[in-house]
Symmetry: C2
Subunit: 218 residues, 2 copies
DNA sequence: GATTTATGTTAGATTTGTCTAAGTTATAAT
DNA sequence: ATTATAACTTAGACAAATCTAACATAAATC
């Protein structure tokens, strides 16, 4: 179908344009660690294949076709991450790199089997939604922890902008999805929070950290 | 390390030269479905990398380094096949194609985990030995079923020159590794055999089929 | 509004892995 | 032993994906 390389572009564009619906060529080049002319020529190629809307000097958007293709790759990525955690005993901080490779496998039966063995999961180990077979994906509307107030009690639902380091940071503090967290205090000048959970733990979380934690109010 | 393409050449050369210790460029081109000049230029490249011994108009041999690299890819392939069968419920006829892709993953922890989850298996689902981490592999010296005589009782130990079709053929007849088989009769003119197993089954196996079944005498 | 800076584009080179066409060497057949 | 066939090599072309250098446009700043 599409090359490994094209798939990586589609995924990058999808992720980078998640909020605004469009990306600059520059952002893509930073994300994929490629030079701008490389991105430029790939955009022309993807435009010919009707995967992106591309006009000179304008931001890049995925077409409907492009979005679907990207979603299906992300589906494979997230199913794989879930399988690695649930069935192979990996930590949530170990799975990204492996899934980056497995997501490109061309084998519908392989991913169908993973899906079935996992019981058709709706979210991945980081709380991100897994697109369905048609490429549809729905983000449940969680709040950022950073937007909560002192006194709120919330449940940790997802981690965004995950890096191995941040996930290890959460591991050390015993912070995992589903955990009930009580916000004790919000520092005025830097928006850091004092939170408690698991009956005994009390921790300070910086604003950056709170921006990356999605929660649902209880 | 080495490219996906180079890995496929190494594996092909390893498999094709298993018996004689050397291969012709022509055999490689047939195996990989590539034209001869393509193979020729790759041989020069692999020779520069000290992975093969190559001299004009002479058969191709893997160097020790080349053998080790090839064995480690085959190790990943066979571990993967075992995992797909034992842990994911695939049939032995379904796993080759998937393992062909997974064998190229660059992730030592992934294959170490597979190995551990399987309990460090020594053979794959088709009875082929799995090389160890240093690339060493030992074929237990099985006999071909075709070399056995009427009256012999044997245990099915491995299937060689496997194709999906042949494995499905065995599935239909309930022939699986470990099975005790009694040779009832050997037809003189075509070397086909009448065998019985599982108390009730009696089947005729052609010479070609018997050549592909490795057994140990009981 | 003019100028500087950041972003985007074009042109052309490079690497990898493939091909076809043409020529060379070895092997098989008469 | 000569010839015919099969196997191998060389030369040169091509596509994919990358790069650098030079140029063009848009955005930001003064």
């Amino acid at each position: 179908m599409h090359s490994y390389t094209e798939e990586n572009y589609l995924k990058a564009i999808f992720n980078l344009s998640a909020e605004k619906g469009e990306v600059s060529a520059n952002e893509i080049s930073v994300q994929l660690k490629l030079k701008m002319p490389t991105v430029n020529s790939m955009m022309k190629k993807l435009a010919v294949k009707k995967l992106v809307h591309y006009e000179s000097y304008k931001p890049i958007k995925l077409t409907e076709k492009g979005k679907k293709e990207a979603s299906l790759i992300i589906r494979k990525h997230r199913l794989t991450e879930m399988f690695l955690v649930q069935k192979m005993g990996f930590g949530w901080e170990e799975v990204h790199e492996i899934a980056e490779q497995i997501e490109h496998l061309q084998s519908p039966i392989f991913f169908e089997r993973i899906d079935a063995l996992l019981g058709y999961p709706k979210i991945d180990p980081h709380g991100s939604p897994i697109p369905d077979k048609t490429g549809k994906m729905e983000w449940i509307k969680y709040e950022k922890l950073s937007s909560c107030k002192a006194g709120d009690t919330v449940r940790l639902a997802a981690v965004i902008h995950t890096t191995d380091e941040f996930l290890k940071f959460l591991n050390i503090r015993g912070l995992q999805l589903g955990l009930k967290i009580k916000i004790k205090f919000v520092e005025k000048f830097d928006s850091s929070m004092i939170v408690s959970y698991n009956k005994s733990n009390t921790e300070m979380l910086s604003e950056t950290e709170c921006e990356r934690l999605l929660v649902e109010k209880i």
